[in-house]
């Protein structure tokens, strides 16, 4: 208990506490009593030096994961009333628990009760976060005291580890914003320049919700206001969060936007976006490409549900591939000679017959009709033996039924009526020269079409990287991993994602994945991520084994994190660290876009008043 004694002499400018003797102090964690006048909060990084009997020092670095106050010297909970009434003397014990992140040198002796504790700043902060062991770092956000969290780039780009996984509740966890902030930090920070990789590191971002990401290249009108508010609240002074992070406050550079076309036919291929009028390119696949590049598998999101169905898909894919190879001349349709529509039960409309009696298939519906003819109708319902491959008609019908089921959704994306030039113009090229960031808007697409687009584009990147190898890292940002790579069941897109997760590291494809619940995502995808990030979590979710990398106190806190605050865990630092990151410098809605010739309101007002 304290008397009215002067502040103990150990409270110098930097000491904030003394290690307590009433709780165990161990090399992995200890409690310290906060000195009067000092303030300690959770996530503060602290340093302690103890001395071995031979006089050599051992330093402990750690992160405060628990702080508490209580009355000491009183026995009953209700004694607080007597204390406040002024009849019972008691003192407040203010104590903090530290999880050790590093012992330097690695002599795992316990610190001694009474050893002074101080905030880790400067060189000690670097040691606490193991930044001295990192050759290339980028900013992962700001710590609670305004210092920068370094993230080891070699654990992101695949050299020592790869992939980033972000979990959190939709809306409040701001997963996509943080993913974009990390990309911004990588692209516009200094790390790529240090490595001379600035020109050919790319990002492929799938926009799955709203049109949030279609304004990445536009400055945000509200960023100054928001950042000034935060700066004033945290007392950062003139130096804002972007300046502290060493990042420019500007939108993404060299961005292309791809969106699906609005309609399934017609010559005018217009991107299906509502908020942004210019700068968005529509993307379509040609029917011939569909066959030639074996995209059929991505039409089926549940191919593994039946072995036989998988077999049929594989076989039809092979047939279509051969068919595409036999095509002569330009165009995007498929010309077939062996289709007798009169034998079909249902003749598709608008079939175009050519001079030799062949038929040119110009849309996805016709392609399905043709496949149906080959499987179930030719030869009085026997089908073409090469296509059928002795499969049960029931399985074949199931195959057609599923094709018909997704026909409506995929027709706008797969076109056979375009000219070769159109096809080339609208082919999605996510690795286009001069483009650093590609945003593919799939939020308007139905689920099967989303699966198809993501699957095909990812495979394209993957195949490209298999050819060119590791250099030129490609970051793939994909939210809703629960949907694309669920823990249960198989799908072609899950296979691609698993490939990326497991082999992408060595190929330089880095998945920045996000999901609401890591427990419902394929375990191998989550476990392959070197950097794990958690925003606000559902409390029940936070107790699942996927989050065991968070110490208990962090798991509890994950339930109350505010937007803009994340827990970041990286391999170099044994404990996760809480960071905040700045408001986006890029617009996330049309009304946030800063108009270039914006004039001060006073000036406009004066004009209106006729002054």
């Amino acid at each position: 208990m304290t008397q009215s004694s002067p502040i103990p002499p150990v409270l110098t400018l930097q000491n904030i506490g003394l290690i307590m003797g009433t709780e165990d102090a161990t090399p992995t964690g200890f409690w310290f009593a906060v000195l009067p006048g000092a303030s300690v909060q959770m996530d503060d990084l602290v340093a302690v030096q103890t001395t071995k009997p031979d006089g050599s020092p051992v330093r402990f670095f750690g992160i405060v994961d628990h702080v508490r106050t209580r009355h000491e010297g009183v026995k009953f909970d209700s004694d607080v009333q007597d204390v406040i009434d002024g009849i019972l003397p008691a003192s407040v014990s203010y104590a903090a628990r530290v999880l050790v992140t590093r012992v330097d040198p690695e002599d795992f002796i316990p610190p001694q009760p009474g050893d002074p504790v101080r905030h880790a700043v400067g060189e000690e902060l670097a040691l606490a976060l193991s930044a001295d062991k990192m050759d290339y770092t980028f900013a992962g956000g700001l710590l609670s005291d305004g210092q920068v969290l370094p993230v080891n780039y070699q654990f992101v780009n695949g050299e020592q580890g790869g992939h980033i996984n972000i979990s959190g509740i939709s809306g409040v966890a701001t997963k996509t914003s943080y993913a974009l902030f990390l990309l911004h930090s990588i692209f516009q920070g200094a790390v790529l320049q240090q490595r001379h990789e600035g020109h050919n590191t790319r990002a492929l971002i799938f926009n799955v919700k709203g049109e949030d990401l279609l304004f990445l290249d536009q400055p945000n009108a509200r960023v100054d206001e928001k950042e000034n508010q935060v700066g004033a609240r945290k007392g950062y002074g003139a130096q804002g969060r972007y300046a502290r992070l060493g990042l420019p406050q500007r939108p993404f550079q060299n961005v292309q936007f791809l969106a699906p076309p609005r309609s399934a036919d017609g010559d005018a291929i217009v991107p299906d976006v509502s908020q942004r009028s210019g700068g968005v390119t529509a993307f379509v696949f040609s029917l011939r490409e569909f066959c030639e590049r074996r995209m059929l598998a991505y039409v089926f999101s549940d191919a593994a549900s039946s072995l036989n169905l998988g077999f049929v898909i594989g076989n039809v894919e092979e047939r279509l591939f051969r068919l595409a190879h036999e095509q002569k001349g330009g165009g995007t349709g498929l010309s077939v000679q062996d289709w007798r529509p009169d034998e079909s039960g249902e003749i598709p409309e608008d079939l175009s017959f050519d001079a030799l009696g062949g038929i040119t298939i110009t849309n996805f519906g016709q392609l399905i009709s043709y496949i149906e003819y080959k499987l179930l109708e030719e030869h009085d319902g026997e089908g073409d033996k090469k296509w059928v491959q002795k499969q049960n008609p029931g399985t074949l019908r199931a195959f057609i039924r599923r094709m018909r089921g997704v026909q409506k959704y995929l027709s706008p994306l797969i076109r056979g009526d375009l000219s070769a030039e159109q096809a080339a113009r609208y082919r999605p090229d996510v690795l286009k020269a001069g483009i650093q960031t590609t945003v593919v808007d799939i939020h308007n697409l139905s689920s099967p079409a989303q699966m198809f687009a993501v699957g095909v584009l990812l495979r394209e990147v993957f195949e490209h990287k298999e050819k060119v190898g590791r250099q030129d890292t490609v970051f793939v940002v994909l939210d809703e991993l629960n949907k694309y790579a669920p823990r249960d069941g198989d799908s072609p897109i899950k296979d691609v994602l698993l490939d990326i997760a497991e082999r992408g590291r060595s190929l330089g494809i880095i998945l920045i994945g996000a999901q609401q619940t890591a427990s419902e995502v394929e375990r191998r995808i989550v476990s392959n991520a070197a950097i794990r990030v958690v925003g606000r979590l559902d409390m029940a979710e936070a107790e699942r084994p996927e989050y065991r990398f968070l110490p208990q106190s962090f798991r509890q806190r994950a339930g109350i994190l505010q937007p803009g605050t994340m827990l970041v865990s990286q391999p170099d630092v044994p404990n996760p660290v809480l960071v905040n990151y700045p408001f986006p410098a890029w617009a996330t809605r049309r009304d946030e876009v800063k108009v270039a010739d914006e004039r001060p309101a006073a000036e406009v007002g004066a004009e209106l008043l006729g002054l």
Partner: protein, 352 residues
């Protein structure tokens, strides 16, 4: 027959109530024998200090001098201190001057220097026992010497802290701003100071059968009128007109009820006796004493403890209990001290 419970736990060294009759003279000095209602605390009273002390015998010793003569001695310690509080609750209570001292009490003419117990671990601190001589050869003498040293320290602290209190008949401006509540009777040497002794147990019956019933009827906070008696008056000098008692200290005393007695307790369970110095043979009550008596009910009801937190409730006041605990802490863990003493003596032998 009705059985009633004494409220204090049986392991405390005495009961709350024994009521041995007081054999000397007790004078009514405040008029009619009736219950007097408490008055609110005056705003001039800014500070109340609850003073207490705690002695402890740590080891009994046998000293052997160069001539192989034996004498008894003891290692002991005491702590005294105060809780400083504002009676109006405007600030938090805090400990004031809680300090412990260690003594080597010895008899005879030995010339001893302080015994210093040096710790093996630098963090555990030194124990220094200063020599203190007492008369006699009784082994209890050491304990008594330490107790007396403690009482002296307690008295010195109390009189240093309390406001001066001139005991005039009527002087409305002399109400004290600092009042000391001292555990036990007031002591010689505290005259002229605002020191109020509170006696937790009722061991002496100053009232007699005719006045006692009022104690049962007191409501919470109410007090009896003030009485005056002479310390150590055995009644033998009464026939000589009180002249025998002159030269001895005189006291004012009154009783206050802090809490209603439960139906199963004896009816004096919540009652406490208070005591202040009285000027010699006066037949009036000084204004200052009456003011303190008037506020004592209000003040003590505020400070009284509750049975589920303190076995000696309500007489063992909340600040007193906290002070006792703090003094125990300052004295250190008795077991560890005993171990240190043993190690120290063993070390002396090894050095010899």
């Amino acid at each position: 027959m009705r059985i009633r419970l004494d409220p204090w736990p049986v392991d405390t060294h005495s009961a709350q109530l024994t009521l041995t009759p007081f054999r000397g003279n007790v004078f009514d000095v405040e008029g009619t024998w009736r219950a007097i209602a408490p008055r609110p605390l005056p705003s001039s009273l800014r500070r109340v200090l609850v003073v207490d002390g705690k002695p402890r015998m740590e080891a009994r010793l046998l000293l052997e001098d160069d001539a192989q003569e034996l004498s008894v001695a003891g290692f002991g310690a005491y702590a005294v201190g105060a809780v400083d509080l504002c009676p109006h609750g405007t600030r938090q209570a805090r400990f004031h001057g809680v300090e412990a001292r260690r003594l080597l009490a010895h008899s005879g003419d030995l010339r001893l220097s302080a015994e210093e117990l040096i710790p093996k671990n630098p963090q555990t601190g030194r124990l220094i026992y200063d020599p203190l001589r007492f008369r006699g050869t009784d082994v209890l003498g050491a304990q008594a010497a330490i107790q007396k040293a403690m009482l002296d320290a307690e008295r010195a602290l109390a009189s240093a802290l309390a406001s001066a209190l001139p005991l005039d008949e009527e002087d409305p401006d002399m109400s004290p701003d600092t009042l000391v509540l001292q555990d036990g009777p007031v002591r010689v040497g505290e005259q002229g100071r605002a020191v109020l002794g509170y006696i937790k147990s009722l061991h002496t019956d100053y009232l007699g059968a005719d006045r006692n019933p009022l104690l049962r009827d007191l409501k919470c906070g109410e007090r009896t009128p003030i009485l005056r008696f002479t310390v150590g008056d055995t009644g033998e000098g009464a026939s000589a007109g009180g002249g025998q008692a002159s030269g001895r200290e005189q006291r004012f005393t009154w009783f206050v009820r802090l809490a209603e007695a439960e139906f199963y307790q004896h009816p004096l369970a919540g009652v406490m006796r208070l005591e202040m110095h009285a000027p010699e043979d006066v037949d009036f009550v000084p204004r200052a004493v009456r003011d303190i008596a008037d506020l004592s009910g209000t003040l003590l009801c505020r400070l009284g403890s509750v049975p589920h937190k303190d076995g000696r409730a309500p007489q063992n006041l909340v600040p007193t209990a906290a002070l006792e605990q703090e003094m125990g802490r300052r004295l250190g863990n008795a077991e560890l001290v005993t171990r240190r003493i043993r190690a120290h003596l063993a070390g002396q032998r090894a050095r010899a």
